[in-house]
Subunit: 243 residues, 2 copies
Amino acid sequence: MNVCIFAFKMEMNRMKKELDIITFDADDTLWENELFFRENEHCFCELIKEYADQNQVLESLLKNEIKTLPIYGYGIKGFVLSMIETALELSNNKISGNTIKEILELGKKQLSYPVKLIDGVEDTLSALQKDYTLVMATKGDLTDQERKIEESGLKKYFSHIEIMSEKNESGYRSLIDRLQVSPDKFLMVGNSLKSDIIPVLSIGGYAAHIPFYTTWEHEKVDKPETCDRMFSLKSIRELLSII
Amino acid sequence: MNVCIFAFKMEMNRMKKELDIITFDADDTLWENELFFRENEHCFCELIKEYADQNQVLESLLKNEIKTLPIYGYGIKGFVLSMIETALELSNNKISGNTIKEILELGKKQLSYPVKLIDGVEDTLSALQKDYTLVMATKGDLTDQERKIEESGLKKYFSHIEIMSEKNESGYRSLIDRLQVSPDKFLMVGNSLKSDIIPVLSIGGYAAHIPFYTTWEHEKVDKPETCDRMFSLKSIRELLSII
């Protein structure tokens, strides 16, 4: 951490001169998201507790989500389909229609939650917009992300919004090509080391990590080795004091 | 029809000089898609025939799909969730876990169908690519569309690929802004009057309609009034003889 902060301060002068584009992840960076999955996982465990205990349910659910990611992609609809599949598996297909109906309702509720911005987001974007081109790069269900973007009221701060099917090196390479920016003028800000930080560092960009208090198991990875292009922040507001 | 063809021939000289970008819808314009929905609807009717006859099933399914479009968006995952909801409704939640499992399997199968190009597509794209910037604009599940784009082998012909959450006037306005083209230099090619033709004509673009032999009920609309910027084609190959 100390090393990162040091590197960060050293780098700042360089960034100040060179940075063109600051790109923000959305879910759990600009607005709350993951906690709704946690809440629904909890409700789901309650719904099928006669068939398995909480640990078994969460383990089976995660296994099913990861298994179907290549065809379902990220987002709530795939999560709902995986809850249904898990309920069938753990109950040996004995699960009742009423419970399936309740699982569908959990999904619909999650798809309609009001968007709650994370503290400091709007002030920070408003300030940064004066000097930088701001971009949003997120993943998940297209329709759900567009709803959240509209509801958030943040659209006005962004020159470009990209919904990516996978936030990996190749996805970020396409993004910076499209933005016509070189990686060393590109800073990515996000909560996921796996999706927002590591692939951006790998292609030569800058990355600012702002952890959110809950992370999906599948997104958890070890912290990358110290890198002078990576910065660890406690809050989005800290961006303002460093660039 | 005659009027359209006449208009089409008159317009061609103008288009030849002015057209910059030709944008193609993908599902049922470049590759087959809708028939897999028809096939799965048929399988679904069979699966729950003890609860309702085919007409009732299809009517309830369509109603549920349209009702959930604002939150689920287009694509196979929403279709599967709507089949499950319909099965619960028509069976008064008595549907068995085995049947729900089979509905999930129908969805997974549909998400894995090999991509089958429509006759003439590759030759036409290959020829047009020499003189025009080609763009693909489709809608549906992000992950599923990306899979089909990769599998189709057509990516190399397109300068830009856009997956839209809704193909309406506002969606097309964003697209042409992003492409930095004026509407009168933009031609949209697609099978859906509702999604590919009418909104593009409304914003002042050109549109070539190539009907596919099956159309989702929700996409069916009356043919628009004759417009000298709309062309009706029988096959994608006809594009070559007119521009």
